[in-house]
């Protein structure tokens, strides 16, 4: 069944980390916070894949470096299997490239272990259907996406697909640069309302539902000029 953004009475969480101290710390934070239940603990990537299938948790907290199957490969396996678990990476350190790869693999957030006190706000944001990247807003995520746009190997000429008009492609290019509607409107000498109308049309054409997804999609499909 397709998950909705309605928060259930108790959010179930699977904790996947090879360090028992980390798992215990996460469990303690969730226990005192209320509204969460640890559905299981996995000490390696393969076990995480199996437990996601078995317990179908709402959220998977996933470490990057784990035995047997590393975090991103675990995420890939879970996504490929069609699971709709919302995955948040819980890691000591992560590069922008890894963040992007994780987002492209379907992760909904990243939280550093040293910020575990922010775990509950992160889980709540993700349960509302938002992304959580180190306490930062979606526009910051788009900035990270922009970094990938600067380094990826897409063709220099944008691909004209999905029935996008030249103006729509232009707007997508602004989105991948992290621009807000007002900035786009000013740059193109049009109103914000017109920008919103264009965005609605773009979302309908490419099947995305928010700016982050659109930015990732555009980069992946070479819709914007480098």
């Amino acid at each position: 069944m397709k998950r909705t953004t309605v928060k259930p009475a108790v959010v179930t969480v699977l904790v996947a980390d090879d360090d028992p101290i980390v798992r215990q710390a996460v469990r303690s934070v969730l226990d005192v916070s209320g509204g969460f239940r640890v559905a299981g603990e996995a000490e390696d990537g393969k076990m995480a894949v199996d437990l996601v299938k078995e317990s179908d948790p709402d959220i998977l907290l996933l470490d990057l470096l784990m035995p047997n199957l590393p975090g991103l490969e675990t995420l890939r396996a879970i996504t490929t299997a069609g699971s709709e678990v919302r995955t948040i990476l819980l890691c000591s350190a992560i590069s922008a490239k890894q963040v992007l790869e994780a987002l492209q693999l379907g992760a909904r957030g990243v939280i550093l272990k040293k910020r575990v006190a922010e775990l509950v706000p992160a889980l709540e944001a993700v349960m509302r259907g938002q992304y959580w990247i180190e306490s930062q807003s979606v526009s910051n995520v788009v900035q990270i996406v922009q970094q990938l746009a600067a380094t990826n190997t897409q063709p220099s000429q944008p691909q004209n697909r999905f029935g996008l008009t030249a103006r729509e492609t232009e707007i997508i290019s602004f989105i991948t640069q992290g621009c807000m509607n007002r900035d786009i409107a000013n740059s193109l000498s049009i109103t914000e309302e017109t920008v919103k109308r264009h965005l609605t049309n773009i979302f309908n054409k490419v099947g995305m539902s928010n700016r982050l997804e659109l930015a990732l999609f555009a980069i992946e499909h070479g819709l914007v000029r480098k």
Partner: protein, 118 residues
Amino acid sequence: MAPQKSDEVRSALEKVWLNSRPEALARLATLERFAESLRSGTPDQQSWETALSAAHRLSGSLGMFGLNEASSCAEKIEALLGEGSTPDLAATVSLVERLRMLLERTQASSREPQRRDS
């Protein structure tokens, strides 16, 4: 998060740290043994991998308890051990000794306030 909840989270993490401190010290001991084996020659692959794992776990877990300086020190050890070539003896010993000093600053008893890194 509400201030009360935030205090509860902090208190919960402190309890976990007090329970986990012996394990953290055991991981530090692993690093000290590795440094010692480095001093007496090239350490075997297994002790190297065990030390790398200990440094990685310390780096991640210490940060969770607000021990940021200790976590950063463990991260540097992890980077040193993860380079592939035999780690520099002086740098390794210095970092491991510093980590010992930082961990000993923390109190083993819940009756005494813990000293947190800045």
